[in-house]
């Protein structure tokens, strides 16, 4: 067990691509940290540098306080689980799990004991004599985990370990990975491009894009207080709605209507370089059927009417897609998000996704009267995507006048 520190770590590939730019990250002992981001953002590269499979171009990597930049992978005492599982096809399940111990010259009896223990934890005991070719995907995945845990390494690195499994199995294994990590309490760095996995598994989540860290924080903080448009759009499913908005004296002109400007938003927008054109972001759950809103709440929000495109009833609540006329929000961050549809399921631009109570009687085709919580809106600068309404890490909503 050990902490891992990345100090201005950069990776430049021989062909000139800089895959990771001066990343600073401190991973505490026993922490479960997730690297998440769209394809090609440098997650695997970062992980491989921690593993020692890729050289570090500049910066320093410390494991348990010791600089390990120049140490070979085998001397770092770290175990890794690969997306492809990377099981040795010529060895049985038991031999696969025993391999690292054998290389460490552990006595045979001890190896057998450790393998048996790990097999029991992972429910692999009856498959110990099988070859990987004769296992199901989930079983192979567990063997890969088993090979990592038998060694009791300083840290686990996992590169999309669940993405080759089908959806149901993935959810099961997610719980198992989480439980295992809690049990062993070993520092774990886990790479995924699935934001649901990131939100549910990690103590902390690192959102990456194009080789830069966008934001680091616990899942709830990322969800509530995204630093920029990219994080806002990437975290959450269905993702945040984005609308173009124009700041005018005391109001915010949007395709939904003119919203009143609260004091704090006015202050946020008062800087000399504050933009007139902004992007308004609001999550689906911050809407409600106007008829279900109590009087004292009504004042905190804003009501509007829009045609209903589609209603999806989930039982516990309803996803209602509203049609919004007018322009679309435009920003580089949003284009990046749209390009990476796998990471964030952005709503079609013409639709506003809202999550209303199950009691709502909104119907397809009809117009709906919808209330929106102004405390929860975010305003983003379309030029660089940063969150204008974030003060000392807290989102300050637009207060109702």
């Amino acid at each position: 067990m050990a902490d891992i520190v990345l100090d201005k770590v950069t990776k430049k590939y021989p062909d000139g691509t800089t895959a990771v730019h001066e990343i600073d990250l401190e991973i505490a002992d026993g922490e479960f940290i997730i690297l998440v981001g769209p394809s090609g953002c440098g997650k695997s590269t970062t992980l491989n540098m921690i593993a020692g499979l890729e050289d570090i171009s500049s910066g320093e990597l410390r494991i348990a306080g010791e600089r390990v930049n120049d140490k070979a992978p085998k001397d770092r005492d770290i175990a890794m689980v690969f997306q492809s599982y990377a099981l040795y096809p010529n060895m049985t399940v038991g031999e696969n799990m025993a391999f690292p111990l054998k290389l460490a010259k552990m006595p045979k009896a001890e190896i057998d004991k450790k393998v048996a223990e790990a097999a029991k934890v992972l429910e692999l005991t009856e498959y110990l004599n099988r070859k990987p070719a004769n296992l199901s995907g989930g079983q192979r995945q567990r063997v890969a985990m088993g090979r990592a845990i038998v060694r009791s390494p300083k840290a686990f690195l996992m590169d999309e370990p669940l993405s080759n499994l089908d959806a149901k199995l993935r959810v099961q294994m997610r719980t198992q990975v989480s439980r295992l990590q809690k049990q062993l309490n070993t520092t774990t760095v886990y790479v995924t491009h699935d934001q649901t996995e990131a939100m549910t598994l990690g103590d902390r989540v690192v959102v990456m894009r194009g080789g830069y860290i966008q934001q680091v924080g616990d899942p709830q903080t990322l969800y509530d207080n995204p630093h920029n448009l990219f994080v806002a759009g990437f975290i959450g499913s269905p993702s945040m709605n984005f609308l173009p908005a124009t700041v005018e004296e005391s109001k915010l002109r949007t395709p939904l209507g003119d919203l009143p400007l609260g004091d704090r938003v006015r202050r946020a927008l008062s800087g000399a370089d504050a933009p007139r054109q902004v992007i308004l972001g609001i999550r689906p759950e911050h809407f409600e059927d106007a008829r279900l809103i109590e009087e004292h709440q009504r004042a905190k929000g804003f009501e509007f009417t829009a045609p209903v495109d589609l209603v999806e009833s989930m039982g516990s609540d309803k996803y209602v897609y509203l049609t919004v006329e007018g322009e679309h929000a435009v920003a580089a961050d949003l284009e990046d998000l749209a390009a990476d549809a796998g990471g964030a399921d952005l709503p079609p631009q013409d639709n506003l996704v809202t999550r209303l109570s199950a009691e709502s009687r909104v119907r397809d085709g009809a117009d709906a009267r919808v209330w929106m919580n102004l405390d929860k809106i975010h305003l983003f600068d379309p030029r660089d995507g940063h969150n204008l309404t974030l003060h000392e890490g807290q989102a300050a909503g637009v207060n109702a006048a």
């Binding site: 021989p14 499979l53 890794m80 040795y88 070719a133």
Partner: protein
């Protein structure tokens, strides 16, 4: 093929019986289609190879010397008895085996090294690969002549360098060494090419996993790469062994079979073409054919357990 599928069906996780029947129905049709698709090629093969083979077997059962054609007579297996009790034959057989074993073994090691280099180089990959393949691209006879001149006393640079006194191509041991050397020089690139295809079969992740598990370079090579490459290695060995066993042109040019350096192909040729003894020559050809068939059979038996996907029939389980 059949062995594999039978074993699969017998393993516990096989499909339920009703589905198994459906599967084998499809399999049967697939197999029938396979035969149909192979049929034209198989027919041509039979026409082109079966006739000469059968004819030489027929010849091998006769006393038939073109110098005394009137003595032609069916004598059963007498030719085989003659050849198999003859010292020349067994000397040639020993020489051929020696050349085969040594050259294939050395080629395997060198070829593996070359394959690893070609697989790993990033800069100038094309150049490295092309230059490595040059020996294989040169016509064997041409290469053999250049070796012969190089080893000719007085004029050859290698002869002057290594044995200014003697004539290496006229002494048995040194002549064999030169023949083996020429053979290795010539076909190592081919071996490397086949092995490189095998290297491509080893997933990068597997090697990364092995280094994470604490394997040194050598351990990764022996414990991960070689087992995964085993089928490719066996194919390469089979091709090269069969090839090497039929060695002819290098010997023909370099020593002409003098000083007991003849291979079995050489003495078969000498009997057939120079001695015009069709009976004995054909007998030798048939014996070479049988040896090659036995070698191939042994390798194919080995393959059975090494082919990918046949882990379940692996005897060690």
């Amino acid at each position: 093929m059949t062995v594999v599928s039978r074993q699969k069906a017998a393993s516990p996780e096989a499909a339920v019986p009703s589905r198994r029947a459906g599967l084998s129905e499809g399999k049967k049709q697939e197999r029938r289609l396979g035969w149909l698709l192979c049929a034209p090629a198989a027919l041509v093969m039979v026409a082109v190879t079966a006739y000469p083979i059968l004819y030489s077997i027929w010849l091998s059962l006769q006393r038939y010397d073109l110098k005394f054609p009137e003595n032609r007579e069916f004598i059963g297996l007498a030719n085989y008895a003659t050849v198999l009790t003859n010292n020349y034959w067994w000397t040639a057989f020993g020489v051929t085996m020696l050349i085969t074993v040594i050259s294939v073994a050395v080629e395997l090691v060198l070829g593996m090294g070359l394959a690893l280099i070609m697989h790993r180089t990033i800069i100038g990959r094309g150049l490295v690969r092309t230059s490595a393949l040059i020996p294989y691209g040169i016509v064997t006879v041409v290469a053999a002549f250049s070796w012969r001149y190089a080893w000719t006393p007085g004029t050859g640079y290698l002869a002057n360098l290594f044995s200014p006194e003697g004539a290496p191509l006229t002494e048995r041991a040194s002549a064999l060494a030169i023949i083996i050397f020429a053979e290795i020089w010539k076909t190592t690139p081919f071996m490397a090419l086949l092995l490189m295809a095998g290297l491509a079969l080893v997933p990068d992740d597997l090697l990364k996993a092995a280094s994470m598990d604490g394997a040194s370079w050598w351990q990764r090579f022996t414990k991960v790469m070689l087992p995964v490459m085993k089928p490719a290695i066996l194919v390469a060995l089979l091709f090269r062994t069969l090839d090497a066993f039929r060695i002819f042109d290098n010997i023909y040019v370099l020593s002409a079979g003098a000083n007991e350096t003849s291979s079995v192909s050489m003495i078969a040729y000498n009997n057939l073409m120079k001695g015009l003894n069709l009976g004995i020559g054909s007998t030798m050809s048939v014996l070479i054919f049988l040896t090659v068939a036995i070698i191939a059979f042994i390798f194919v038996k080995l393959f059975g357990t090494a082919a990918p996907g046949s882990d379940d029939v692996d005897g060690r389980r």
